[in-house]
Symmetry: C2
Subunit: 383 residues, 2 copies
């Protein structure tokens, strides 16, 4: 059934994605206030939301700034008026034609890179096209993934010089402290944020010492954005998953469980009473295969089971999942009572990972303060 304004959750086809708009607004306001108090700009990451309506809540203005994870996102958001945007995955040379088309539409789309090969391709593109393509050099904050080592002056300067010589617009440096996801101690998280800051400032200093421009010093991850105490030398912070929150970020301590705005609405379709199983129509296709909490102190299975209003049942999780079946059971060792949930009961399941769970769905059913569906917001997937 297509949802219309004021629809009760009971009238929705399941499984589907629910979004608590008030929680998104509160999560964004909290992050915005925190970063303002630290004196840095906020560049929301739109890879979790992939929705123009959510982007409007997250961004300070329709023109941005923002960062995206795919060129499809860049196109989708720029068609809706986004202007200041970074494509936050290392640029492949054969994506430059698509970047140029997006820039030709009026958006100030910047790319990132971490090698001389990419700098050569981007410089050649800038020289050939006459477009002063903006570039940030990706710097490796913590050995997590991509990026030039922050103290590797030879590499940083070679990349920066090649870009400038080719006529590209060297904007600065960009880092992502992805290893912070593996932490949960506030002191360790504050230290990760400080390490990210120091790496950023180090790399920026190397560029500037060579006379290269570096107006932007961009860092960010939801955990380090939450725990940073000092951002001297940083100009902007990026974060995305905090808007919705999820069980994994709650395990890190970067969000509070009661602030999680995203859930999957499911219906009870069966029982295996001898085993203490309740079968629901949300399997891994609706919840995603993400099992990130398996590596944390509290393994949440495929998600925490709540009643239709969002209140968690004690120790009740999606213990296993098939494609379209979720197996709901008490956490191993629990002494709680299995709730009596007859066939047809509507449940909400909190996700392990908002980015992964959201991607399994084509829209958000947006809840108002009374728990009714106030709107349906489309979201995009793909590249």
């Amino acid at each position: 059934m297509a949802a219309t304004q004021g629809t009760e959750v009971e009238a929705l086809d399941t499984p589907c994605l629910l979004l608590d708009e008030a929680r998104v607004r509160a999560n964004v306001a909290r992050m915005r206030a925190r970063l303002a108090s630290l004196g840095v700009a906020f560049r929301p990451h739109l890879k979790t939301a992939k929705s123009r309506e959510v982007a409007r809540l997250a961004m300070g203005a329709p023109a941005g700034p923002a960062i995206v994870s795919t060129l499809r996102e860049a196109e989708y958001f720029c068609e809706a008026g986004l202007r200041d945007v970074i494509y936050g995955v290392g640029i492949a040379p054969d994506k430059l034609a698509r970047v140029a088309r997006i820039r030709a539409s009026g958006a100030d789309l910047a790319v990132i890179l971490d090698s001389s090969e990419q700098a050569e391709a981007v410089a050649a593109h800038a020289a050939r096209s006459g477009d002063r393509l903006p570039v940030l050099i990706e710097v490796d904050a913590d050995g997590h993934r991509s990026g030039v080592a922050p103290e590797d002056a030879d590499a940083l300067v070679a990349i920066g010089r090649r870009l400038v010589a080719g006529g590209a617009d060297l904007r600065g440096v960009l880092l992502h402290a992805g290893d912070s996801y593996a932490l949960s101690d506030p002191e360790a998280l504050a230290a990760a944020a400080e390490a990210e800051r120091v790496a950023a400032v180090t790399a920026a200093g190397i560029l500037r010492a060579d006379g290269l421009p570096c107006p932007v010093v961009s860092v960010g991850s939801t955990p380090t954005a939450r725990f940073a105490r000092n951002l001297t030398g940083v100009t902007e912070v990026r974060a995305g998953v905090f808007m919705f929150g999820d069980l994994f970020q709650a395990g890190v301590g970067a969000v509070e469980p009661e602030d999680i705005a995203l859930s999957v609405l499911a219906t009870v379709i069966g029982h295996q009473r001898a085993k203490g199983w309740i079968i629901v129509d949300a399997g891994w296709m609706a919840l995603s295969r993400d099992r990130g909490t398996a590596r944390q102190g509290l393994d949440q299975g495929y998600g925490v089971v709540c009643d239709r209003d969002g209140t968690p049942y004690p120790d009740l999780i999606v213990a296993d999942a098939n494609q379209e079946h979720g197996i709901v059971a008490l956490r191993r060792g629990s002494t709680a009572a299995l709730p009596d949930l007859p066939i047809g009961t509507r449940l909400r399941i909190l996700p392990n990972h908002a980015c992964a769970t959201g991607a399994q769905h084509g829209s958000y059913h947006v809840l108002d303060g009374a728990g009714r569906v106030a709107a349906v917001w489309p979201r995009i997937n793909g590249w």
Copy 2:
């Protein structure tokens, strides 16, 4: 770039999904011949493909038979002429109105259930609507998920009688030996297939002994369909993932690695040479979060890395993945040499789980015998 006929793989935007049509045809022909030799009908499961074009390759006729995992699939395929179809997830009473709309369009859509509560709802629906809704009773082959225990005569007869009394069309029994996915020994797989058969025949016998109809005895999973030796008493076998194959099913032994028809095309976007990492633009968003092979003898990470023509590099896997980054590295302990793959190199990645990887994409880029894109076939997601 939108792909057109004859497009080279180099011209595609990455990441994207590639499908080798000749392998799909061969996989289907092999399964069809195998089941014909065992004297049973074949009901392909369309949950992996979610594509009308693939369904046409898999089905013996446009009208079916087939089985689907969502009502969205039922609608999508029935609009294209599918008539004989089972919705293979236990029916929730509030989905019956949507089932009725699909049936009113001319499709013989059957539902499954495993409880008296569902039988009561279905019988009441049949009595109220006058529609002889076809029903199969789901029977539990192996304790994997849903279903009435095959020897639980009281439950089977109570459900069957209630359905018949209400005017529903009791079609028979349906089982899925999902625990076969955990096996890899051919003898154990043959035993799982035989256990699935015996459970099916036992349950069917109980219904018939009570004078209830049971024309259909439906079993199936890709592993048991591959390893069954005797299907006496079974009328049809269902399987889906075998059409494409994947690394997980190769680990089970249910498909050969060289028959895997699905892969994700990716581009090299960076290196961390000191660590032996090659970074590609296919992360878990493109590959899925499925890590099913982690529980098998050979952990394939997030997928096996092949060259652009589909030939695997020795011991090269996607060792880790972020949302839009794959970290390609040699398998731990490998003595193979890391191949030199410059930025821009196109690679193909074989998936752990075809159902999960396919669901991350909106279409298949279909390869012809020369490795060129012969067509783009859309696929659906959602519910």
